[in-house]
């Protein structure tokens, strides 16, 4: 094992450390362009799950405003009304910051609870905005998707942890 790398290695590690979280979130947004046609809302919004996993894993990595450009990208790719993910994601980030400054410690279960609340807020927010845009949909329709999202959070979190390990390895 090497302790220090050449200057070029260090530069590559730096880029990787900085960009893996951003690029993994963008890639999760791009899952929306998969050529799958579905008529029932079932599949979780993986972009939000990946973003939330990064935020809960590495609280110090991102300032809250990083969610703005990432949200804009997600809105554009997924065809949400512009501003939806921007606003909801940034609000979630601010709430996480507030939580971090108040709470003493966190463990796996509390992380999951926080993530569940954030997913609930995000789903309800998206539903509320869709209603304001003229959709007559009832919230019950989104319940299966909500449950699936909450239960896929641990899986996504594991994936993000593996990515994080690779990101910081040398």
């Amino acid at each position: 094992m090497r302790i220090a790398g050449s200057r070029r290695d260090v530069a590559i590690w730096g880029v990787r450390r900085q960009w893996v979280p951003v690029l993994s979130t963008l890639a999760a947004s791009l899952l929306d362009t998969l050529p799958v046609v579905v008529t029932t809302p079932l599949v979780p919004d993986f972009a939000f799950l990946v973003l939330l996993s990064w935020r809960l894993l590495r609280a110090e990595m991102w300032p809250a405003y990083v969610a703005l450009p990432l949200g804009l990208f997600n809105d554009l790719v997924a065809g949400h009304p512009l501003g939806q993910s921007m606003a909801l994601w940034t609000i979630v980030f601010l709430a996480c910051d507030l939580l971090d400054s108040r709470s003493g410690w966190r463990d796996y279960w509390i992380d999951w609870l926080v993530a569940s609340l954030a997913i609930l807020f995000y789903t309800a927010g998206g539903w509320r905005i869709a209603r304001a845009m003229g959709s007559q949909m009832e919230f019950e329709v989104l319940l299966p998707q909500l449950l699936l999202s909450i239960f896929s959070y641990p899986l996504v979190a594991r994936l993000v942890v593996a990515l994080d390990r690779w990101r910081l390895s040398r």
Binding site: P44, P81, M86
Partner: protein
């Protein structure tokens, strides 16, 4: 796990200001995003250039992979067909016999129809399609039910045009890029299609429910006129959708609530046909004279 301590910037003024500035940017960004949402609510076509461009950029990925996905879907269908073959065969034979009789009746009605139309000298506007394109993807994690079409304004597609397939109505165009466009499916919560019952012509509104089904709302109060298996076609009211395009089949009737399933399943569709708005005049603002006379009537 101990909380990360790096959130507190310590005694450095510069670091404290940096953190504070970060929050100012975040809150400002939220307000800006909320403003964009309000603009989108007031004018749904706003930002259409930006959204259209994004649609164009992501479209090749979607279009390229669709073939592979269909291949996998077909394998799944093939396996289940193999196991169901015997019962399906019997069912199909029965259905063919029933439908042969219906075809004869339909031919007779068709001839009579042609004769009557000739008598009335009724001229039907030709339903020349604007474009024929592939449905390549859909929003699968959003509360909206949207699908992506592999043709855009370069093929003459405009916002508001109805989209159908051979099976029935698919929806209408709500966003157009240069080479791709987005369709609001009939099952979306914001979709309202004026329909009528084929059996007796009862008018109704087919409102999307958001989970792939459609709610039927009658225009008159009273007994629910729908039965399981009823077919609904567009009525042509409102001037957007051409009349007599099949829309949905009733799957369940529970008291006042009637649930129907769209006849055109976007997941199984290969091609969709984009049509012209049926009566473009219906979408135009009222002429000045009409508006004035209406004002007079209101007072």
């Amino acid at each position: 796990m101990a909380p990360p301590s790096t959130r507190r910037p310590g005694y450095s003024r510069r670091a404290q200001y940096g953190l504070f500035l970060g929050y100012v940017i975040a809150v400002g960004g939220i307000m800006f995003a909320a403003l964009m949402l309000v603009v989108a609510m007031i004018d749904p076509t706003g930002f259409s250039a930006l959204k259209g461009a994004a649609l164009d950029v992501t479209h090749p990925v979607t279009a390229g992979g669709r073939g592979a996905v269909r291949f996998v879907e077909n394998i799944g269908g093939g396996v289940s067909n193999y196991f169901m073959a015997a019962s399906e065969n019997a069912e199909l034979k029965r259905r063919i016999a029933a439908e042969r009789r219906m075809i004869v009746e339909a031919r007779a009605i068709d001839m009579e129809n042609g004769r009557l139309k000739a008598m009335l000298k009724l001229t039907q506007e030709s339903e020349a399609p604007v474009a024929i394109a592939r449905i390549v993807g859909s929003s699968f994690d959003a509360p909206r039910r949207l699908a992506t079409l592999s043709a855009g304004s370069a093929s003459g597609i405009r916002n508001g045009q109805p989209v159908r397939s051979a099976d029935g109505l698919v929806g209408r165009v709500i966003e157009t890029g240069r080479w791709a466009s987005r369709i609001l499916l009939v099952s979306d919560g914001a979709s309202n299609v004026p329909v009528k019952l084929v059996r007796d012509g009862t008018p109704a509104i087919a409102a999307g429910h958001g989970d792939g089904t459609i709610d039927l709302k009658t225009l008159e109060l009273g007994k629910n006129p729908f039965r399981r298996g009823d077919i609904l076609v567009t009525s042509g009211t409102g001037g957007v959708f051409p009349p007599n395009v099949p829309v949905a089949v009733v799957t369940a009737v529970n008291g006042d609530r009637t649930v129907a399933k769209p006849l055109a399943d976007p997941a199984a569709l290969d091609f969709a046909i984009v049509l012209n708005v049926f009566q473009p005049a219906a979408n135009l603002p009222l002429s000045e004279r009409t508006a004035k006379s209406l004002e007079g009537a209101g007072q």
